[in-house]
């Protein structure tokens, strides 16, 4: 009994420590950026956006792990992500089932071959979904203005290991999602973590090796 509580406690402590260290990292990043800005080449949000905006297109494999209170064990999904500047993004789920989400400009198309569903909707009419889409698409496009429209942004880390933290300001989105953290290196996005208000967490890892 006691050991159970202890483990739990230790676990939470460890998690909190990790959080603290992350935030310390961000803080440190800010301090470093601020002090080194004049001396070396600047690496700030503008530099990141500029670097990202130079990428015209790309296709990457990803894996996504969703941990939910409703489920006995985390759910693991994998597939591909395709981007074409300035506004085309496709998320294709290949396993455990096939599904395809395509965003192009204002329209979102959902295709599910298994269910025989193909549905197109306007992002502008679905603010929460729009905000969600822009959490990935706006960084890929290097579009800081759009990002600012939906999120409060914090940025930190070095060029080799940066962290972009987004806290939703769009009310419908804010009701569902606590924050989104995007990690990367240079002009590469490596990992996207989403923590929902209910405590469920989803972590997407993007593979850069072919």
């Amino acid at each position: 009994m006691t050991s159970g509580i202890n483990t739990d406690w230790a676990h939470r402590l460890a998690r909190r420590k990790r959080h603290i260290s992350q935030w310390l990292g961000i803080l440190l990043g800010f301090v470093l950026t601020a002090t080194l800005a004049s001396a070396t080449e600047r690496w700030d949000i503008d530099a990141l956006m500029k670097a990202l905006s130079r990428i015209e297109s790309g296709e990457k494999r990803y894996t996504e792990i969703k941990t939910m209170a409703l489920l006995k064990e985390p759910m693991r999904l994998s597939g591909t992500l395709t981007y074409r500047a300035p506004s085309f993004l496709e998320k294709r789920v290949l396993s455990p089932f096939e599904e395809r989400y395509t965003v192009d400009g204002d329209s979102l198309t959902i295709e599910s071959p298994a269910k025989g569903v193909k549905q197109t909707l306007s992002l502008a009419s679905q603010p929460a979904i729009w905000a969600f889409v822009e959490s990935i698409r706006a960084p890929l496009a290097g579009d800081l203005a759009t990002l600012n429209r939906f999120y409060k942004i914090s940025f930190g880390g070095s060029e080799r290991n940066w962290l972009l933290a987004l806290v939703p300001t769009e009310p419908n989105m804010a009701r569902l999602v606590r924050f989104i953290r995007i990690r990367g290196s240079g002009d590469r996005i490596d990992r996207i973590e989403i923590e929902e208000t209910g405590g469920d967490v989803s972590v997407m890892t993007i593979e850069h090796q072919p």
């Binding site: 939910m68 209170a69 204002d106 599910s112 009419s125 929460a128 979904i129």
Partner: protein, 771 residues
């Protein structure tokens, strides 16, 4: 003193009349006056719908002329601005989903409202399938949105209830707002608080839309198109008023010039208006006292019919000789005038027996008005007139009426022959004489109607043209019958005979259906057992769906919903417009979209007399036809009365024929010509023909008036010339209007009046003495 008495009485009566007309006479535009007094439920509902149904309160807006981004932006801003305006109960452009209250309502009542609720759905197998489907949804990014409700609604009933409301969600979205399929127009719909017939309120609504548009448009090259019954009536009213004012100014000018040339006296010209004005006042008061108010259409048509009275003072003025007082003159012409007035009054009196309130009002107005105008001419005018009216001698002497009439006499067989030709022409034209299409009366131009149709199609808005009326003693009966009707209609939609339908029962199931759904929900122990079994094979945590179990057991006891349950939601409005009380009955409207085969549909409904199929356009045209038919029948009756009166009054059949023939010839020839030109005569033409007949009869009577001297005959001839020239000029000017109502009345009367005087001259009695 004795001479002044009639004037005194007249002044008092005029004052009382003016008071009644101004303060005690509501002018209505209520279409129910044009319903037969024994109208059926369907007709009453038809008129009610036309008057204040939802369709009559919709204003359709389209924005065009710029790129998609501009249009979407203006649409959003315009909608935002209009939503703050009290004139509208609803502004829709696709941006507004359901409110929190709406969603809560549907969610709380999902087990009563979802059409998918069945025993099978809550069995172990049903739940297993549902859970598998939910798991797949959780994996998708959109699952984020649904996860919140998942523990309470694993079978997805909420989505099913939402789906019912979403299918009627309207046109396609671009940049979050409604657009036409080709993307060229952004679309908006406004529902006004006041019905279309409330012109002031509609004008205000239209103005506030235009103002708001101007304010939000900025310098974008966007244009606003506005349509819908309210916009139409505002626009039509503005055009008619503008045209009527402009043309009557022209009329007044033309006729004043004519009269000034003849009488050369302002006093006389002004006096000429007295009988007409007195008649109009008397007509208004009589109708007001008789039926407690007057209809706008009665006022308009009635004033047209009173046009005959404009001739009376001319007869009087022209006959005043140098050595005569006006009192002597009036006694001289009074017998002829009296006969003319009496026959006209007798003609209009027939309308009193009409089954249509509107038609009998018209009869009362015209009969009383003419009588009052005639009496004014006889008793009041002489007292007000100058002792002598000096007509230029040249004018009187230079007319040579006798010679002219003698020459015209050669054509005496022309009018009767023309009657036969006109009748033959009408009979063999191959088209019906009367055009009873309600659209023929509408002053809305074709291009605007086409735009309206295009917008409605793009919006997917039912135009409420075709609908089924379901009646019953209470709401639940009506809902049950609607559900039964749905069984008939759905197959028609599925096989493409019909594009779709809407009904209250889709949103509010009958109590019977709700009870069935409630009883399909399992008891709590059964549900828990089924759920446990279903959960065993999934990766959902056991116990994750306890809220669902609680909700179902609560729903099993929940009170059933009725039409009042929706009151606090935005659905209330829709339900109210589709399900309402009409007198003792409850009525559900089922608007139909795109009916390909009305006959087949009617046949399918024939078995149940509580279901009435209604085509608003057909039904209103039918009403119009009945109205027109009755008018024509009564006209026949009044002709008999006129013939009798004339025979008695003139004491000779040939005299009667001399009067009736030109009148009939003018009416028939005009009708035949106009029918060829317009492909059928409308109600406007009919009313105008009545005036033509009145004028024709009056003129024929004067042509046949016994006269003592050639000079007197010249005076009579002058009087008739003035009368017919002014009628032709006045109505000819009206005929230049582009508004169909003014154009129809103008062209009919101008042509008819010209023909009437011509024919009357051909048949005038010859005076041997002067030959």
């Amino acid at each position: 003193m004795r001479a002044r008495l009639p004037v005194f009485v007249w002044l008092v009566l005029t004052a009382i009349g003016a008071w009644i007309a101004l303060f005690r006479t509501p002018v209505s535009t209520d279409l129910t006056h044009f319903l037969p007094k024994k109208a059926g439920v369907a007709e009453q509902i038809l008129v009610e719908q036309l008057r204040q149904g939802v369709a009559s309160r919709l204003l359709l807006m389209a924005l065009e002329g710029s790129n998609e981004t501009d249009l979407a932006e203006v649409s959003r801003r315009l909608a935002e601005r209009l939503r703050e305006n009290d004139s509208f109960v609803r502004i829709d452009n696709g941006t507004q989903g359901f409110s929190a209250a709406d969603r809560d309502f549907l969610f709380e009542n999902r087990y009563l409202l979802s059409p998918k609720v069945s025993e099978q759905r809550f069995s172990a197998e049903g739940l297993r399938q549902a859970l598998a489907a939910r798991l797949a949804e959780l994996a998708s990014p959109a699952g984020l949105l649904e996860k919140e409700l998942l523990p309470r609604d694993p079978t997805g009933e909420f989505l099913e209830t939402l789906r019912i409301w979403m299918t009627s969600a309207g046109p396609s979205l671009r940049q979050g707002v409604w657009f036409s399929p080709d993307g060229r127009r952004a679309l908006l719909v406004a529902e006004t608080k006041e019905p279309a017939f409330d012109l002031d309120a509609q004008a205000e609504a239209v103005a506030s839309i235009r103002d708001s548009f101007a304010a939000v448009k900025g310098n974008r090259p966007v244009e606003l198109l506005l349509s819908g019954p309210g916009a139409f009536s505002v626009e039509a009213n503005a055009t008619i008023t503008r045209d009527a004012v402009r043309l009557s100014l022209l009329n007044t000018l033309a006729i004043t010039l004519l009269l000034a040339a003849v009488y050369r006296s302002v006093r006389v010209i002004l006096l000429g208006l007295v009988p007409l004005a007195t008649g109009a006042l008397a007509g208004t008061c009589a109708v007001s006292l008789w039926s407690g108010g007057i209809h706008g259409i009665t006022l308009g048509f009635g004033a047209t019919l009173l046009g005959v009275a404009a001739d009376y003072p001319n007869h009087l003025f022209t006959h005043v000789r140098r050595d005569e007082t006006s009192r002597q003159t009036v006694r001289l012409i009074w017998p002829t005038l009296r006969l003319g007035i009496l026959t006209n009054v007798a003609g209009f009196a027939a309308m009193l027996f009409s089954g249509f309130e509107g038609l009998s009002q018209l009869g009362v107005f015209a009969a009383t008005g003419l009588l009052a105008a005639g009496l004014t001419c006889r008793w009041i005018m002489p007292a007000l007139m100058p002792a002598h009216i000096d007509l230029p001698g040249r004018v009187v002497k230079g007319l040579h009426a006798d010679e002219f009439l003698n020459r015209m006499h050669r054509f005496r067989l022309v009018p009767p022959l023309l009657i036969l030709v006109a009748i033959a022409s009408i009979a063999y034209s191959g088209v019906p004489l009367w055009n009873d299409d309600i659209d023929a009366l509408s002053p809305v131009p074709e291009s605007r109607k086409a735009l309206d149709e295009a917008l409605r199609r793009d919006l997917g808005a039912p135009d409420l043209r075709q609908l089924i009326v379901v009646t019953g003693d209470d709401t639940d009966t009506v809902l049950r019958r609607s559900e039964h009707l749905k069984e008939i209609l759905q197959p028609l939609v599925d096989d493409g005979t019909m594009a779709g339908f809407d009904m209250a029962a889709l949103y509010l199931p009958s109590r019977e259906t709700q009870r069935l759904r409630q009883s399909a929900l399992p008891e709590i122990e059964v549900l828990r057992r089924n759920l446990d079994e279903a959960l065993r094979e999934t990766s959902f945590r056991p116990g994750a769906f306890e809220p669902f179990v609680a909700d179902v057991s609560q729903a099993k006891q929940a009170p059933l919903l009725d039409e009042t349950s929706f009151a606090a939601t935005s659905f209330g409005l829709k339900i109210e417009s589709l399900l309402f009380r009409h007198a003792e009955l409850w009525v559900a409207l089922v608007p139909l979209v795109g009916v390909a085969d009305a006959a087949q549909l009617e046949a399918a409904l024939a078995t149940d007399q509580n279901l009435i199929y209604l085509d608003l356009r057909d039904a209103s045209s039918r009403l119009l036809r009945d109205y027109r038919r009755e008018a024509v029948h009564l006209l026949g009756a009044s002709l008999v009365a006129i013939v009798l009166l004339l025979t008695l009054g003139l004491r000779s059949i040939s005299g009667m024929l001399r009067v009736v023939t030109p009148m009939a010839a003018a009416a028939f020839v005009t009708a035949a010509v106009l029918m060829r030109l317009h492909g059928g005569l409308s109600l406007y033409h009919l009313v105008s023909l009545l005036l033509v007949m009145g004028l024709g009869m009056d003129q024929a009577l004067f042509f046949n008036k016994p006269s003592r001297t050639p000079e007197e005959r010249n005076r009579t001839f002058l009087s008739l010339l003035i009368c017919s020239i002014s009628a032709v000029a006045a109505f000819g000017i009206l005929a230049t209007s582009k508004v169909n109502i003014l154009n129809a009345i103008g062209s009919t009367v101008a042509m008819g009046a010209a023909l009437a005087v011509l024919f009357a001259a051909m048949l005038a009695r010859r005076n041997r003495s002067s030959a």
